[in-house]
Symmetry: C3
Subunit: 319 residues, 3 copies
């Protein structure tokens, strides 16, 4: 943990706060474990964090949260998330992702898309909780609408989409991965919709997505328990499609897309649309209701109080 933790102790940046809050949120909102346990549990999700700096250096600038490249020869785009510390999804990051998805969707040169992460040991840690604490209600609603938008674009994409899951992928990170056509994962990480562990609830379209992916019964248990599965468990349940060593994740995703590219695109796209349209239509028809539900839930005094206490305790520690 050395390098980054040290830096953070010296200079308590917003980044550090978000990071620490994630540690706490992921483990303590339900009030059942001690801080020491929480850290362990998070380490389990993300055992190695010293390379965060690397990501920040390699990106062109601090604003470059999302690196998008398209390989001209293959037509395969790669969308690399690089929003330290844990690729958490806030309004701006989701907006960038949506803009990129729209551009790629409309590009004639692009037929496939791989989503991956530049943050070591983290694919995507899910929603940024800073969006949820003492929120401006307009922004809160816009945040949720933008998340819906990301799912609608990705799950309904005409592109061949693959998640190259090279790190932990809880909650919104799992949603993103399950919205793709194929999932390749490195061993030793955790993935799942762990919302209930944080005292919150995965909305109906997260639920529909996991049910589509691994069936009703296992989804029902996983959603109630907020289970984070190991890569191997996720493979057995069908939540991911293949496990390969970390260094082969990208190459395997590329090879998989090449396999799908052999299928006439028009027929494949019509087939994909027909299968996924009912789920997407359902969200479209309940979109405003879903936003209102999220807003009303998050702005509850009890939820805000819990959030506030943790943020306060973290600020004190940071001083």
């Amino acid at each position: 943990m050395g390098q980054v933790q040290s830096r953070l102790t010296i200079s308590p940046t917003p980044t550090k706060l978000a990071w620490m809050m994630h540690l706490r949120m992921l483990t303590t909102m339900h009030g059942l474990c001690e801080v020491r346990q929480c850290s362990k549990r998070w380490k389990n999700l993300c055992p190695q964090t010293k390379n965060l700096q690397k990501c920040q250096m390699s990106s062109a600038g601090s604003s470059e949260m999302l690196q998008v490249t398209v390989d001209d020869k293959s037509g395969i785009a790669t969308m690399t998330m690089c929003r330290p510390p844990v690729n958490s999804l806030n309004l701006e990051f989701l907006t960038q992702i949506n803009i990129a998805l729209e551009k790629l969707e409309n590009s004639k040169d692009c037929s496939g898309l791989i989503i991956t992460s530049k943050i070591p040991k983290i694919f995507c840690a899910g929603l940024d909780i800073m969006e949820m604490y003492q929120p401006n209600v307009d922004r809160l609603q816009e945040f949720w609408r933008t998340l819906q938008e990301m799912y609608i674009r990705l799950y309904g994409s005409q592109l061949i989409t693959a998640a190259a899951i090279n790190g932990a992928s809880p909650a919104g990170g799992c949603l993103m991965a399950m919205s793709c056509d194929y999932r390749v994962m490195a061993p030793g990480y955790k993935i799942g919709l762990n919302e209930t562990q944080l005292g919150i609830v995965a909305p109906f379209w997260f639920q529909d997505l996991i049910i589509n992916t691994m069936g009703f019964r296992q989804s029902e248990m996983a959603l109630q328990l907020g289970t984070l599965f190991t890569s191997e468990e996720a493979l057995n349940l069908g939540m991911v499609d293949k496990i390969v060593p970390q260094e082969q994740v990208m190459e395997t995703a590329i090879q998989e897309i090449h396999k799908w590219k052999k299928i006439p695109g028009f027929a494949r796209q019509i087939t994909k649309s027909a299968l996924r349209k009912p789920s997407i239509d359902k969200l479209h028809s309940k979109r405003e209701e879903d936003i209102a539900n999220f807003r009303d839930f998050i702005t509850k005094d009890s939820i805000q109080k819990t959030l506030g206490m943790y943020i306060e305790s973290l600020k004190k520690k940071a001083k």
Copy 2:
């Protein structure tokens, strides 16, 4: 079979009649096997019956069909069925179960519920056929409504529910088990929706429940064939979640509930409701129609004639 069978031969009580009818109903309504085979098949379901007496003695009185206790420390309730000979579900027994479910649901001290049986080798043999022969139509309808009520309460319960399946669990017994959140089963028993083997039909909500539990295709075969699965087969199909030795069934159910209790209750309950609501709503919307279907089917001359012949033959044997 010694002790109880002897007692029954001396004194043909209603209990004996119900027991013998179950033996026959479970095996011969389709007219394809001889009595000798039937007995064997039932013995397969329930190989040891000599301890029935024990259950009757240990209960406070003959009316105490259902023993409900709540552990103050853990908040886990245990509902123990003790209606000899086979925990068959009649109107009064179902009513007692529903009253207990309502009380526990409303109790602030109770967060989990384990359903189990005091009858050796039997979890619950399903519906009491005495409710179906020459029925008073009002009572018949009330009987079915009460069964619907049991399913609605149990499948939709806010409590963490586990079935500690310590014996055979055909038909309605399987329904009861599948309505829980988790199923622990002892090895060597049978479980399944075997209605078609008796010439009757599992209604749509039994069907929805088994499909939710183990998927469409395996459910379709199981429902058409009325398959009774061994504990091991049921585990492989996902109909039960764990097999442990008989003496560990209760303790395992308790430990499982403790695991679920670590999840914030509010989030878990909203998640559970969202997932199970469509199935429950469907029954709500078709409840009267379903009652009428059952009434019209059971009161068919052909069904009543079959029932009557067997009851008559049993009475003659009993003399």
Copy 3:
């Protein structure tokens, strides 16, 4: 490949054209593989074709595409497809199948049905592409309606139905097999809905059928990729229920139907209807729309042009 191929080279009959077109259609409509590869791929589906003659001889006449027998003792009918070269489904063949299904359905002496093939190494190669090239629109629509009819009759049959899959079973052949109650397959063949590989799209009721058979996620991948599974893969995915050596396929199907016959027929039929009715009703309600979709898709210039080029190239070769 010797005998038949030789005969075909000497005398280019319509049969040969259909056969060669199938070879090409199955593999080259998407324009991604060379003729040499195509032949190999088809050989993989159908490695042995020299016994085609045998089928033609053993049938009573060239018009006897469908041989139907009923075993008086068991009440089990066998419907044997014998339309060389590959049992492809054209309007007349489908009509014969539907007439047979209707007769058997109404026969009091018949309780079970086995569908199998007399063509060595081929169960059924799916739709006859000659129905789709430069079609008379009225006939094209009638063709599709007759295919719908076949599915509705078979998937909704009151009979106990088993597919004895003794050869390759792509596309419409897979549909036919999945419409039965049970599937026994010989090892070493391929089965699947490979429509997208041909640049066409399996309609919604094909999709519903495969989802009912093997769940959403695996169906979604199989449909997008047009995967043809080996017998063994199909067993693991639940697409078929049992693999036995070629010479035991029929006998195993018979034994399976005997097992199902032990269940009271009335109860089994009501159960089957309840489970399959939603899928069948969905097709009933969208039947005309589905016919129009098929007609509009197939009569597209781009599709017709592709068809035409291949037929032309085959004709030239045949000269």
